[in-house]
Symmetry: C2
Subunit: 325 residues, 2 copies
Amino acid sequence: MANIKEIARIAGVSVTTVSRVLNNHPYVSKDKRAAVLDTIEQLNYTRNMNAVHLITGRTGAVAVILPYINAFYFSIIMNGLAHEALLAQYRLILCQSNYLAEEEIKVLEMLRNKEIDGVVIVSTALKPEVIEEYTAYGPVVTCQDSGQRRYSSVYIEHYAAFRQGLQYLTGKGYRSIGYCEGRQNGSSASIRQTAFREFIAEHKLDFQEEWMIYDCTTEEDGAAVARSLLEMPERPEAMIITGDHVAAGLIIEARKAGLSIPGDLAVMGFDNQPIGRLLEITTIDNHLYEMGASAFRIIHEQISSDNPDPVYRKLDYRIIERSTV
Amino acid sequence: MANIKEIARIAGVSVTTVSRVLNNHPYVSKDKRAAVLDTIEQLNYTRNMNAVHLITGRTGAVAVILPYINAFYFSIIMNGLAHEALLAQYRLILCQSNYLAEEEIKVLEMLRNKEIDGVVIVSTALKPEVIEEYTAYGPVVTCQDSGQRRYSSVYIEHYAAFRQGLQYLTGKGYRSIGYCEGRQNGSSASIRQTAFREFIAEHKLDFQEEWMIYDCTTEEDGAAVARSLLEMPERPEAMIITGDHVAAGLIIEARKAGLSIPGDLAVMGFDNQPIGRLLEITTIDNHLYEMGASAFRIIHEQISSDNPDPVYRKLDYRIIERSTV
DNA sequence: TTGTATGCGTTATCAT
DNA sequence: ATGATAACGCATACAA
């Protein structure tokens, strides 16, 4: 395959001139430019970008770490990231880590390796201290609130959002509330758990341990929760559920069993998913698309400006009132 | 940042020896290896992979072209791809093209540029002839059946699968069938459309043009279809719908209006999505995860073996009998 | 088992 | 406006 040297030879110019044409630099005469362009066309030449990456120290690529791509939550964030990356002419390297720390480290090593210009961590199995070590090699943005770290973050105020959801429920008069969480571990889960327990205590709400249910990630899990609620000697008047698809599963199964929603059981979802709209689930929209878009904009800004100062961007959330509460 | 030369100097060996250690080559004495490893540790050295890519001509990356990541269909395929890529220690570059030919071409140009070792095209706005032009620069695998092309493909027999779905419906005694399609354009859509029309004609089934509905991609679209069915002077006894989530929207809305499923209206879905299991939707599983996994295995094989001979892999499909037909 | 020298293909520097 | 040459950091053929 032809290289810049050959183009130069055939076009009768220096490699520098060819490079200038390639990069749209000024100070190239019209005819020389034409000659170069001609030769490029003739030889079907194209740059070897690896050489460009080597000498410029930039690759135009950003890696994204997330546990699973086929989950609404992550795919919407990814959508936001991808959209902005397209606009910025950047490439996205997807690392589906399955929460394996080992794999996530490999991605951060790519930053050290100069294979990528930055890393967006949507969810991580890694400790903040570990991530911080890598900020020396390039910008890192997380989509979780890890405090004022040496890397940027764009995050949802899970505590406040969850509390507001509970407030909404008590405002509607519910005095006993159950809680359905996704993965038990995970930083946002524990924050919400704290918010839940504190709120229950503050407002002296009725409560039973079995009303806190973990590891509900699928529609089927939601349905299973419905069945177990039906078998409880005493069940809560309302459920707050992280993920509208899980809420949907619960609602469909509960209705199948003859329960009226919200009459017999109120349900509040999370994430404002399409299925939630269909079932008219009252939910909290936490602007996931914007989260991804924002994360990319931040990392792109940091790469372009060579400014490593971290930024911390707090996102809005909003209760969408529908008819399951 | 330190480079191989500096490591060599400090460790008191040649750069070749350092390179050998780095690449786990044999013929390095124990103490020299230890010295090199020590120095690497001390200087916190890591390879500049761009230099490696330049000289080896390989990058260990494969690009994936798909229109939208936040759709069940694509995200499952992506999951399969990502899983296999992880096993093979390969990186995946995600290009969310929004069906923009221009963006898809850019990805194929990356193959020419040597930025990637291969391309997986899950869905494309590109003509087969255009794709074929790029096979000169590296292996390409598509997830669509485009016949015996100069690139590989792993595909679902949309015609046969759809026909089997219709067969299943007529087998259950339905004599008037409606059809709900995703994007009107798109190769699989037109194949199914042909299958549908031919089947209707062959079996002399009742048919009305308004029973063919296009551009149904969301739950809401499915619900809208339910509403429009209710307003038809004459409606089909059964609907076959590409995508369980669309079918779910239709079913939920239809039941809301008092229709019994399958009593008043039978519904057959596609893709075996989680929501379909919850609503007990009879569906056709076309093994999307396996599609992604298989696509990656093929391209990985072709990259590793330098064998450009295309392979054509036909996937299985399977009707899952539940209770909406 | 080890080292020297060369090449990968480009951009950056500096001189003219 | 143009060109000669260095530099990027590594792998590898070849010699020893």
